[in-house]
């Protein structure tokens, strides 16, 4: 790793995001407070106040207006940032396809928190996964360093002319947003070198007036085809930008999916977000005991890494998917997406959906070990329930 003029700091996930936003130099920040996102917007407000971030901070009166103001600012070619969580994300849901359809590269941090009712404050992925069809790129972070790095990478990805799509950077509420870790903080010059100012033709301009966010009754489908075709280019762009980030900053995140000890694995568990950290420890423990287990850290849910999922599934004897969400009446949303990829294999491996962590319910090392044990047994030819609920207090039938 190259010597860096930056420094190491001890920060929470929220603070790491705020530091990254400062380094990314957005023109406009518009946000409405919601737990557990608040530290991000408080910290950014301090940066604007003390002048370390030269930006307009808009105190909006709702999440709907937070994203609407970001839309307006992006419409004149400004770099924008907002952050939300849970009910707030759903309150701005109208704006998500609006912004992506207009091809504005808004970057948003979402602190993953469950949805009411019953009311709960802790983390699961029901909020963001309910919005996977909105045309936004979705990335999930494992730790504070990745959160900081992904905010910076997010602007490059979103603003890339080949992609032109907004990005939602997801951090598990409290588990990541409020947990303190040592983080490498890059210097401003290094970030400026990686992330140039945003330039676009897709904007309203005084010297070249145009209309954005218009109606297109007859051409609607063509506009969305273009959006889809560009989104399909995103995985290659994401990998390219991640590689360049690695060269400049000494850290990479392996593009769409990080495979951890998957090379010779018999069984693989697919995870999203912070539960990955716990699962890494379990993989290491079980490897020491001689079990050939591996981990596929799903980083991006949109666009979905279909090829990678097929490739991993094609090599293993059983596959588990951890979902911290539930599409009530069916199964976990990640499971549905993994299934639709791997079912195209000639003989896909048997799969289990482990649904847990709803409303912040703990998923411990012991729970993950139990998941691997079941996958190992299934790899040995035994049958297991397709959907399993982890650490739940009421009885259920498989």
């Amino acid at each position: 790793m190259r010597p860096m003029p930056g420094c190491r700091i001890f920060v929470s996930g929220d603070e790491a995001v705020a530091e990254a936003v400062r380094l990314a130099r957005p023109h406009v920040i518009s946000a409405y407070p919601i737990t557990p996102q608040t530290v991000v917007v408080e910290k950014i407000s301090e940066f604007v106040e003390d002048g370390s971030l030269q930006a307009e901070y808009l105190h909006v009166e709702s999440e709907h207006s937070a994203m609407s103001a970001a839309l307006g600012a992006a419409a004149v070619g400004a770099r924008t940032f907002t952050a939300t969580s849970s009910q707030g994300l759903l309150y701005m849901a109208e704006l998500l396809p609006y912004v992506s359809g207009a091809r504005f590269p808004v970057v948003m941090m979402n602190a993953n928190r469950t949805l009411a009712t019953p009311w709960a404050l802790l983390s699961d992925h029901r909020d963001s996964l309910s919005q996977i069809d909105s045309g936004w790129i979705q990335v999930y972070c494992e730790d504070a360093q990745e959160a900081l790095d992904m905010i910076i990478q997010a602007y490059r990805i979103a603003e890339d002319p080949r992609v032109m799509a907004p990005i939602m950077v997801n951090l598990d509420g409290f588990l990541l947003t409020h947990t303190y870790e040592m983080v490498d903080l890059p210097g401003q010059e290094e970030v400026d070198g990686f992330l140039p100012p945003y330039r676009t033709e897709n904007k309203m301009a005084l010297d070249d007036p145009k209309t954005v966010c218009y109606a297109a009754m007859d051409e609607y489908m063509e506009f969305h085809m273009k959006q889809e075709l560009d989104m399909r280019k995103a995985p290659a762009v994401i990998a390219e930008i991640d590689r360049e980030f690695g060269e400049r900053f000494g850290r990479t995140y392996h593009g769409m999916v990080e495979q951890y000890r998957c090379e010779d694995a018999d069984v693989v568990l697919v995870t999203l977000g912070t539960v990955t950290g716990t699962a890494r420890v379990v993989v290491d423990d079980m490897r020491k005991e001689g079990h050939r287990v591996g981990l596929a850290k799903l980083r991006f849910v949109r666009p979905f890494p279909r090829q990678e999922m097929m490739e991993i599934a094609g090599r293993v004897k059983a596959m588990g998917v951890v979902d911290k969400d539930l599409s009530i009446g069916y199964e976990g949303i990640v499971f549905t997406n993994v299934n639709s990829s791997v079912c195209d294999l000639a003989s896909p491996p048997p799969r289990i959906n482990f649904i847990g962590g709803l409303g912040g319910r703990n998923i411990s090392k012991q729970h993950i070990r139990s998941m691997f044990n079941q996958l190992i047994e299934m790899a040995g030819g035994e049958s297991r329930d397709r959907i399993q609920f982890v650490n739940v207090g009421c009885e259920h039938n498989g």
């Binding site: 709702s62 709907h64 839309l71 307006g72 600012a73 070619g77 145009k210 966010c213």
Partner: protein, 300 residues
């Protein structure tokens, strides 16, 4: 000639900034926008939420605005305008206007939260409510600015209910209560008054609000050549008040020496044709109570 300062018919530019749209014959809303744009000029960013004006002028590839323009989400006009202004300010743009044209429902109902937030922030934006007194774009449904007794498709007049039961929210007082720097009401029946007010709004360094009565031949039910006449009659009979809120006080701009007939104004419109005498008396009594309050409290 500085087009931005032209606020009377003689000085007004012949350049059109809203042209070739698909509005109904006799549309009062499109006239309000067309006139306002002639005052604001080419260096203007326009945001329009869901309403007749966005429906008739933004259909790709036949865009009717020659300036920068966008459709904003329905509830979000105030917030989108703030975003445009903040972005333009941060990018260092100079000498431009940011204007929104929302309908009565887009302002007083679904858009009131975003409007309130924008006024509170004090961003340099012009918010124009073109008030045609119902959701005309979706087929004449009642809004929070539909006047008492008006027949709409969701407030049908029958044996049991005489049309809309609401009293029409007083948006001028609502925005004034925010401590806004400049707010005004206008009518396309008095175009020069409207042009002057748009000009003042453009000069105002913070958020300004103008509510312009924009009669709708289709929704109100009058002959298409009577639009401007209707806008004038509404003022002359005292049901629509031309006023400003400036320097922390309300100012009455036009005080008819004698009101013209309310009944005559109402009878010209299909939406009021069902009203009985006692309902018309009620409308007149409300008018008189409002005017008594204005003459007592407002500068006039």
């Amino acid at each position: 000639m500085d087009e931005k300062r032209a606020t009377n018919a003689r000085e007004l530019t012949n350049t059109e900034y809203l042209y070739g749209h698909r509005a109904c014959a006799g549309c009062g809303g499109s006239l309000a926008l067309r006139l306002a744009m002639k005052v604001l000029g080419p260096r203007t960013f326009v945001a329009i939420p869901a309403n007749c004006m966005s429906a008739v002028s933004f259909l790709y590839p036949q865009i009717s605005f020659t300036t920068n323009a966008m459709i904003s989400p329905f509830p979000a006009t105030g917030a989108v305008l703030s975003g445009i202004e903040a972005g333009a300010r941060a990018l260092g743009l100079k000498d431009y206007n940011v204007v929104g044209f929302a309908g009565d429902g887009g302002t007083a109902d679904i858009g009131i939260q975003a409007l309130s937030g924008a006024i509170d922030r004090g961003d340099r934006i012009i918010y124009v409510c073109y008030d045609n007194e119902a959701y005309m774009n979706t087929g004449i449904q009642k809004s929070g600015l539909t006047p008492f007794g008006s027949r709409t498709t969701t407030s049908p007049a029958g044996r049991n209910i005489p049309g809309a039961a609401g009293r029409k929210k007083d948006m001028l007082e609502i925005v004034a209560a925010h401590g806004i720097e400049y707010a005004a009401t206008a009518s396309i029946g008095y175009p020069e008054d409207f042009l002057v007010k748009i000009g003042k709004a453009a000069q105002c360094g913070t958020t300004s609000y103008i509510q312009v009565l924009s009669p709708c031949a289709t929704g109100w039910g009058f002959p298409v050549e009577q639009t401007v006449r209707m806008g004038k009659d509404a003022v002359d009979c005292g049901l629509w008040i031309l006023a400003e809120y400036e320097n922390d006080e309300f100012v009455l701009n036009r005080k008819p020496r004698e009101f013209s007939s309310v009944e005559e104004y109402l009878r010209k419109q299909a939406r009021f044709r069902h009203l009985k005498e006692k309902e018309i008396d009620f409308i007149v009594a409300n008018r008189d109570r409002k005017w008594a309050k204005i003459l007592k409290n407002w500068r006039n």
